[in-house]
């Protein structure tokens, strides 16, 4: 066990996986010479060489499209998108090809590529360095999506993604890249996709979140004299429906939290799941605390956009009085 920050854990996972499997390679803008703008890929170029840690031209769609060809050549590419909002140029390749090519091959070829990117707000950055695009990705068939909130999960989920035979997208909460510290198992360490994490056990209300919002939910729980269960879903697809439904069955009250805009965000899917499969367990409305349906704002007022401890606590109080 070593105590690492979340971004150090990502770096650890990359070293471990490139070490363990010669077919794994890292692609991205500034991942090599600079070691990544967040240092997530630091040391890889020196350790594994320029053929396995590649500074690509500035072209996200070209990078992801090339990764498909690399899969056809037997590689397991790990593509870094430098920031959330700079991944949008790759959506066309993602939707038309990454999510469909295995199907197109009649299930006879595998496309075990990974896309990873820092995401989310609160970092006092200029425009378009703050987005939470997970809904665009998770709505796309053929894709799996996971989002860690702890250093250990950042390593374990990324390792799982790289080893997974299907395309997986990992969103890394940049807000806690360096503030989330924790013990991370050394060497081989995998957190299987599809398993939620019980961040905190409780009896009265279920708070469901992922990424940096898990901490917000935990802090909100601290401020409340209500017993909150906090579920870190970790994996958006495959989704651990059992863990969610079991908790709701116990508490009967739900607050879902994410940074992304509200409309058709992943929180809607969680609410729809519960409204279909646990409707008779519910003792109140399913509430969402989310970003608003507006462009992510200038950072001087971003704290009013981001779901806050107060907003989460207020939502809980409307359910339990």
């Amino acid at each position: 066990m070593a105590e690492l920050t979340l971004v150090e854990a990502v770096n650890d996972a990359l070293h471990t996986e490139l070490e363990r499997d010669g077919d794994v390679m890292v692609l991205g803008e500034d991942v090599g010479r600079a070691g990544g703008v967040f240092r997530a890929t630091a040391g890889l170029l020196e350790r594994f060489g320029a053929d396995r840690c590649v500074d690509t031209p500035l072209a996200e769609a070209g990078m992801l499209g090339a990764a498909i060809g690399l899969c056809m050549a037997g590689f397991r590419p790990v593509c870094e998108m430098q920031y959330d909002a700079f991944s949008y140029p790759c959506l066309d390749q993602l939707i038309t090809h990454v999510g469909r090519y295995r199907w197109r091959s009649g299930g006879r070829m595998e496309f075990p590529l990974t896309i990873r990117m820092p995401y989310g707000g609160g970092v006092r950055a200029p425009e378009l360095h703050d987005d939470s695009p997970e809904a665009y990705y998770v709505h796309t068939p053929g894709i799996k999506v996971a989002i860690p909130s702890t250093p250990a999960d950042a390593k374990g989920l990324l390792a799982a993604a790289i080893r997974d035979p299907d395309p997986v997208v990992i969103f890394e909460p940049k807000l806690v890249y360096r503030t989330a510290r924790g013990d991370v198992p050394e060497g081989d360490y995998v957190v299987p996709l599809g398993q939620a994490r019980l961040a905190r056990a409780g009896t009265d209300v279920t708070l469901i979140a992922y990424g940096a919002m898990v901490g917000v939910c935990e802090r909100a729980a601290d401020t409340l004299d209500v017993s909150c269960e906090v579920i870190d879903i970790r994996s958006l697809r495959p989704l651990d429906e059992g863990a969610i439904l079991a908790s709701v069955g116990k508490t009967g009250r739900v607050v879902i939290v994410h940074e992304a805009p509200r409309t058709a965000g992943f929180g809607a899917e969680l609410a729809a799941l519960i409204a279909e499969k646990a409707i008779f367990d519910l003792q109140g409305p399913i509430l969402r605390v989310t970003g608003y349906d507006v462009p992510y704002p200038y950072w001087t007022i971003e704290d009013s956009y981001m779901p806050s401890v107060d907003r989460v606590a207020a939502a809980v109080r409307t359910l339990v009085w």
Binding site: A61, A66, A73, S105, G106
Partner: protein
């Protein structure tokens, strides 16, 4: 030094086939063109008969497809667009496989790994980066396979074309980019697509060689492709080949070009159609006889008859296929709709 507007290369005007092509090659090229031509002409009939769905006609594109791929070995990869849907035939893919693709039957979805022929790419130019990546990957593996991608004149306007060719150039990937410049993107003419003198000029911006050949001259296409493949294999990186002609058939069975096409140009192009042009050359060289040509046609027609029969004999697909193939390891709720 990079040269804009390279001359349009032709071979069939002369009497000498490219060095290294023996009589067997010349006849094999002819067989391949006839096979493609027959596939295409029969497909248009099958469509009219309601036996296949909408179909992207490639009549008179056979010289480009047969000529360029003849420069490849079987380990090399082909990345076709919908316009090259039947190019797998040149690798021995069964006729029925391709017919089934146009019939919307799952047995038409071959595995690229079985034939080193990528899936038919429907979204314009998006397969260009795939070819770049495959070529780059083969180079990284120390294998000497080349990737050849086919796309149209309109495709050169897409960002995916730009990013893919640029990446291949930067990685010095063994890739050959074959632009089928048939002058039209459905109803949009070349001059509404680019202001460049020639599409080959785009190669200069990527720092790679760009050549122009007559797209109806199978030997000119072959020769240019062979040079490009040799260059790629020997570490010289990608080449851009512009194969120039004029679309003499509708874009697809659903398209009616009468409102936009230049009918005189179409007539002129039909008069110089690529199979006949090649046959005249072969006869001038005394390589092809009418009997042989007839038997090649007969064989191709027989293949098509057998192909459509086999395709139509296949059982309709099981709807359960919906849930297969999307994932190796599918989420549990996949069937939940």
């Amino acid at each position: 030094m990079a040269q804009a507007a390279p001359e349009l290369r032709r071979v069939l005007d002369g009497d000498a086939p490219p060095a290294g092509l023996v009589e067997r090659d010349l006849l094999e090229l002819h067989r391949r063109m006839v096979l493609l031509r027959t596939y295409d002409e029969r497909s248009v009939v099958y469509h009219r008969q309601g036996r296949i769905g909408t179909y992207a006609i490639f009549w008179n594109h056979e010289a480009i497809q047969a000529g360029a791929t003849y420069a490849l070995s079987d380990d090399d990869w082909i990345f076709p667009s919908y316009r090259e849907s039947a190019i797998g035939l040149l690798r021995g893919m069964p006729v029925e496989t391709i017919l089934q693709w146009w019939r919307g039957h799952p047995s038409g979805w071959w595995s690229p790994a079985d034939w080193n022929v990528a899936s038919i790419c429907v979204p314009i130019a998006t397969h260009v980066p795939h070819a770049a990546g495959l070529a780059w990957g083969k180079k990284l593996r120390g294998e000497d396979a080349v990737a050849m991608a086919f796309f149209g004149d309109g495709a050169t306007s897409e960002g995916a074309f730009h990013e893919g060719v640029n990446l291949a150039a930067v990685m010095n990937a063994p890739a050959v980019f074959v632009c089928n410049n048939n002058g039209w993107a459905i109803s949009t003419p070349l001059e509404a697509q680019t202001r460049a003198q020639t599409l080959a000029d785009k190669a200069i911006g990527y720092g790679i060689p760009g050549v122009r050949v007559d797209g109806l001259d199978v030997l000119a296409v072959y020769e240019a492709a062979r040079e490009a493949v040799d260059r790629a294999r020997s570490g010289g990186g990608p080449t851009f080949i512009e194969a120039v002609h004029y679309r003499a058939a509708p874009h697809a069975t659903a398209d009616d070009p009468s409102s936009y096409i230049d009918h005189e140009r179409v007539e002129a192009e039909r008069a110089r159609e690529c199979v006949g042009q090649y046959e005249v050359f072969l006869k001038r060289l005394g390589v092809l006889t009418d009997e042989h040509a007839a038997s090649v046609r007969g064989d191709a027609e027989a293949l098509l008859r057998a192909g459509i029969t086999a395709a139509e004999a296949e059982a309709p697909p099981d709807p359960e296929l919906l849930f297969e193939h999307a994932y190796v390891d599918p989420p549990a709720n996949l069937r939940h709709g």
